[in-house]
C-alpha cells in the first residue's frame, strides 16, 4: 500500500535490527556519555536501555533533538554527546544538519534509528522509507564521519565511535526493523528531567 508511494527513488532494503537491542548495545558501559533522545520510540528505547541521570528525554520539540545535542556538545566539550532519534524527527530538522556541520563539534554524534516509517502515528511511510538516505544528506552538508549500521556486527564499531571525544560530528544511521515495540515510558516532567540532568553535571537547577 503506502510502499507504492516511493516515487522515482529506489526503495531501500528494509532494516533488520531490533531497535531495543541496538540502543542497548550503543549505550552499554557508556561512561561519561550524555544522551538526548528524540520524541517517540527513541525516547522509549533510550529509557529501556536503563534510566540514567545523563539522559535528556524529549517528548516533543520535533526536529530539535540534534540541535539540542549541538548546544550541549559545545557546552560540554570534554564529554561525548549522543543524540538518539528517529528518521521522522530528523527529517523535520534537515537544515539543522547544515548548522551542525558548520559548527562541527568533535564530540557530537547523531544516531538515527531508521525504519523508514512514522512509528508513533500509525506507521506511515517516511521520506527515508521512500528512498532518501539521511546519511548521504549528512555527508553532503559536511559531516566528517558517516556510518551505516546494517548488521548487528556493525554495532560495536558504532559504540566505540560515539564514546569518543573527537572525530565528530558523526552521523550514524541504524537500520532497524519496522515492527511494533512495547512502549517504555520515562518521566515526562521536563523541568525535573532538566534539573536532574544539570545536577548530574554539577549544576544547580538555575
Amino acid at each position: 500500500m503506502a510502499e507504492g508511494m516511493s516515487g522515482a527513488l529506489p526503495a531501500p532494503a528494509p532494516g533488520k535490527l531490533d531497535r531495543r537491542k541496538a540502543v542497548a548495545a550503543l549505550l552499554e558501559n557508556r561512561g561519561p556519555m550524555l544522551v538526548v533522545s528524540g520524541l517517540g520510540s527513541p525516547t522509549y528505547d533510550t529509557f529501556a536501555a536503563g534510566d540514567h541521570d545523563g539522559n535528556f528525554y524529549l517528548w516533543g520539540a520535533m526536529g530539535g533533538a540534534a540541535l539540542m545535542g549541538l548546544g550541549l556538545a559545545l557546552a560540554q566539550p570534554d564529554r561525548p554527546v549522543t543524540v538518539i532519534t528517529g528518521d521522522g524527527e530528523q527529517l523535520m530538522g534537515l537544515g539543522g544538519l547544515a548548522t551542525i556541520a558548520v559548527r562541527a563539534p568533535k564530540n557530537l554524534s547523531i544516531v538515527v534509528l531508521d525504519n523508514g516509517h512514522y512509528g508513533e502515528t500509525g506507521g506511515q511511510l517516511s521520506h527515508s522509507g521512500a528512498g532518501i538516505d539521511l546519511g548521504r544528506v549528512a555527508a553532503a552538508t559536511g559531516f566528517t564521519a558517516v556510518m551505516d549500521v546494517v548488521e548487528e556486527s556493525d554495532l560495536a564499531a558504532a559504540r566505540e565511535a560515539i564514546g569518543t571525544v573527537g572525530g565528530g560530528p558523526r552521523f550514524i544511521t541504524v537500520r532497524i526493523a519496522h515492527v511494533e515495540t512495547p512502549r517504555a515510558l520515562p518521566a515526562r516532567d521536563g523541568s525535573w528531567i532538566k534539573s536532574r540532568f544539570r545536577g548530574h553535571l554539577g549544576f544547580g537547577p538555575n
Binding site: 516533543g60 520539540a61 533533538a65 548546544g71 559545545l74 557546552a75 560540554q76 539543522g96 553535571l201
Partner: protein, 178 residues
C-alpha cells in the same frame, strides 16, 4: 525621513555589553541588518561562540542544550523568525528553561514591504501565547536597563524573555533613493 543608518547601530554595543555581563557564551542567529554590527562584534569576542542557523527554531533547541550543559545562550533574529520558533518554544515551556531572544522588528513603523506586516503584527502576541515575556524597546536610553532586567529574569528567574527592538528605534529599512 527618520531613517537611521543601521550599520552604525548604536544599540549593538549596549546589547554586546549586556550579553557579556550576563556570561552568555553562545549566541545563535539568523542574520538581520539590524543585528549585523552585533553579530560582527560577537564573532570578534573571545569566549563567545556564534552559530549561524538555517531557521530560527534551531536556536531555541540549541539554547536548551546549552542550558542543560551549564551554559547560557541567546538567540538573535528578525520578527519574521519568531513565527518559525513557535512549536520549538514548547521545549522551553515544558522544561521551564531560561530563554533570551533579541528580536529586530519589521512590519511596523514606516514599513515599505507588505509581506513583513503579518508576522510583524503577530510577533508580540504569538510570543506571549507561547509563554515568552516581551520587553519592547522604543528608546535607546531604555535598552541597557531593560537588557540587564531581561538577562536576570531569564537566567536567574527561569523565564523566557524576548527583547523587541522596535522599527522606530532601528530606523525603517531604506528601499528608495531620496
Amino acid at each position: 525621513m527618520t531613517t537611521t543608518d543601521r550599520t552604525v547601530s548604536p544599540w549593538a554595543p549596549i546589547l554586546h555589553a549586556a550579553l557579556l555581563a550576563a556570561d552568555v557564551r553562545h549566541v545563535t542567529y539568523v542574520p538581520d541588518a539590524g543585528h549585523a554590527r552585533l553579530i560582527e562584534m560577537l564573532r570578534d569576542t573571545p569566549d563567545v561562540v556564534t552559530t549561524v542557523l538555517t531557521t530560527e527554531e534551531e536556536g531555541v533547541a540549541i539554547a536548551a542544550g546549552a542550558w542543560a550543559g551549564g551554559q547560557r545562550a541567546a538567540l538573535l533574529m528578525q520578527s519574521s523568525g519568531v513565527g518559525n520558533c513557535i512549536n520549538m518554544l514548547s521545549l522551553i515551556a515544558a522544561c521551564r528553561m531560561p530563554f533570551l531572544a533579541v528580536v529586530t522588528m519589521r512590519g511596523e513603523f514606516s514599513e515599505f514591504n507588505p509581506w513583513q506586516v503579518p508576522m510583524g503584527s503577530a510577533t508580540e502576541p504569538s510570543l506571549k501565547l507561547m509563554g515568552v515575556r516581551t520587553l519592547r524597546i522604543d528608546r535607546l536610553e531604555d535598552l541597557a536597563a531593560q537588557m540587564a532586567s531581561a538577562t536576570t529574569m531569564a537566567f536567574n528567574g527561569d523565564q523566557a524573555i524576548a527583547i523587541l527592538l522596535s522599527q522606530q528605534l532601528l530606523g525603517a529599512k531604506k528601499w528608495l533613493k531620496e
